[in-house]
């Protein structure tokens, strides 16, 4: 289990992280979200023991990172922001070094390096200096380093940053495959990642936790949740359709997008709109291109809880 208790960090008069508390259990994948500068990386660094906390403490499987750092760090795989490594080394040598520091040796080490480099498809570049590799490869070398000793706890600061869509997919698959047995904390500002891998999301803004829930409940906070959007063919009369929708008893209000030539109807609380609007559209024979029930928009939730003006 990872536990953070009142973690805070001051940089001079600036309070970068302000009393963050949470705990993560095995099997959970916690997504750490927040705008740039919200304190994500500082929190990750405190959890991993790189930055000392100004107040509060962090605990990895019962070992406090400040008073029992070696025990805690042994159980930890940490990917720092930007996946730094030693540029003049080749990935093979680099993994050898990390493995030996982590107490692996001989056949066991070789076997782990083979497994991990197969998993992250490092085979073709194992003997090339890391500084000559592409950003995607460098990131994957960093990931290989974090999982080499098969730690029970993973802390990954922006693991998919700089990867192309295929590589992102691979890394998410990897995280999902490991998720059941491990405790994983990832920080990201890519919202689709939360949907793809996380079982829980914490959003921080200005150093504080502003939301801590599952991605589903988070998405339900969206005002778009259960709204219905109709996209019409250009032969239809958008104003007339909007007018009819607004007159429905279940509809609270509507929003028109002239550019998309679509209208979104928002339900009164608890009302179900899809069948009502579907029936109406069928009866009136509106020339529709698309009719969809909105699940909610994570980016809109994110914006509304991380910017003070919108809240």
């Amino acid at each position: 289990m990872i536990r953070a208790e009142g973690l805070s960090k001051n940089y001079g008069p600036l309070r970068a992280v302000d009393g963050i508390s949470f705990s993560v259990r095995p099997g959970e994948v916690l997504g750490f979200l927040g705008p740039n500068g919200a304190g994500k990386t500082t929190t990750m660094r405190m959890l991993a023991g790189f930055v000392p906390a100004s107040a509060g403490y962090a605990e990895i499987c019962g070992f406090r990172i400040d008073s029992q750092p070696l025990e805690a760090k042994r159980l930890l795989g940490y990917l720092p922001e930007g996946a730094p490594s030693y540029g003049e080394m080749a990935p093979g040598e680099f993994l050898q070094f990390i493995g030996r520091i982590r107490g692996l040796s001989g056949v066991a080490l070789k076997k782990r390096i083979d497994e991990v480099s197969a998993r992250l498809q490092l085979g073709p570049v194992l003997k090339q200096p890391i500084e000559t590799l592409s950003k995607g490869f460098r990131r994957r070398v960093g990931l290989a380093q974090t999982i080499l000793h098969d730690p029970p706890v993973l802390i990954l600061d922006e693991p998919t940053d700089g990867l192309d869509p295929n590589q992102k997919h691979e890394v998410r698959e990897l995280i999902n495959a490991m998720a059941a047995k491990k405790i994983i904390v990832i920080s990201t500002h890519i919202l689709e990642e939360v949907d793809a891998v996380c079982t829980r999301a914490i959003i921080i803004a200005r150093g504080r936790i502003v939301a801590d829930e599952t991605p589903e409940t988070l998405i339900h906070r969206s005002r778009y949740h259960n709204a219905v959007t109709i996209r019409l063919a250009h032969t239809a009369d958008l104003a007339a359709v909007t007018d009819e929708l607004r007159r429905l008893a279940e509809v609270d209000h509507t929003e028109v997008d002239e550019h998309e030539y679509s209208v979104t109807a928002f339900p009164k609380s608890g009302a179900a709109l899809l069948t009502v609007i579907g029936d109406l559209a069928g009866a009136r024979r509106w020339p529709m291109e698309n009719l969809r029930l909105e699940a909610g928009r994570l980016d809109e939730v994110f914006r509304s809880i991380t910017t003070p003006e919108a809240a």
Binding site: R45, F50, G82, P84, Y86, E88, M89, I101, P129
Partner: protein, 244 residues
């Protein structure tokens, strides 16, 4: 001990992965030759000893050792790999000692490669090889002192050029601590006992007796203590500012 060896091994290998090691060794050997033969008058003196050779070691180290030391921590900081190193299960002392020992061992290799001059002097005459061994030992210890200063300064900095210049200045002060150049600066306003203590910190004084073959335990201890003190400072600097 294991972690120190692994860190030192990685560090040492990285010297040889770049031109740094080769450039350093070539320049070190070339300068040694130039200093001993031209400035030191190795042949002209007509004596079978290595005094002209060892006399120039402090001056050569003054610039070459900071060049090795400046990258020790500044580069880790700049590339961000310090974050990786400090989140591995190693203690601060293991990291500091590992990196220091790698650099020291590297200087020892460069120093060992000056052996032809020892062969030469044995071929030409009949020198006191005990004195030469003592002088080599003193030279290596002095290099370690310079290196420990440089490692500490490098840890306080992310800019290698600044680290280099500051290290050269501090090494210069330590080297000449027993000489009027430094002592005159303090003599106006410090009591005599403090002045005496400062002059006791002089690298040159301690090295000179070692290079004459006088293996005084106090001189050996002096350099070992200087190394220990600066490495301790290095650990403190890193603990306080590793993430800045």
């Amino acid at each position: 001990m294991g972690a120190i060896r692994i860190i030192a091994g990685r560090e040492l290998r990285s010297y040889f992965a770049t031109p740094l090691a080769y450039v350093f060794i070539v320049i070190f050997l070339a300068m040694m030759g130039v200093f001993s033969f031209y400035l030191g008058g190795f042949y002209e003196r007509g004596q079978a000893d290595l005094t002209p050779f060892f006399n120039f070691h402090p001056w050569l180290y003054l610039f070459l050792v900071p060049a090795i030391a400046m990258r020790l921590w500044a580069e880790e900081r700049k590339s961000g790999s310090i974050e990786l190193l400090m989140t591995l299960p190693v203690t601060m002392w293991q990291a500091v000692l590992g990196k220091f020992l790698a650099a020291w061992l590297f200087i020892a290799v460069a120093l060992t490669l000056t052996f032809p001059i020892w062969l030469t002097v044995n071929y030409l005459g009949d020198p006191d090889n005990g004195v030469i061994v003592a002088a080599y030992l003193g030279s290596l210890l002095m290099a370690g002192g310079f290196l420990a200063i440089g490692a500490c300064i490098s840890a306080a900095n992310r800019n290698q050029v600044v680290a280099f210049i500051v290290t050269v200045v501090i090494c210069f002060l330590f080297m000449l601590a027993g000489f009027p150049l430094v002592l005159n600066f303090f003599s106006g306003w410090l009591p005599a006992t403090v002045l005496h203590a400062i002059s006791g910190l002089s690298f040159l004084t301690h090295f000179n007796s070692l290079s004459k073959g006088v293996l005084d335990i106090r001189d050996l201890l002096f350099f070992l203590l200087v190394i220990a003190a600066w490495l301790y400072a290095n650990v403190i600097v890193l603990t306080l500012r590793k993430a800045d």
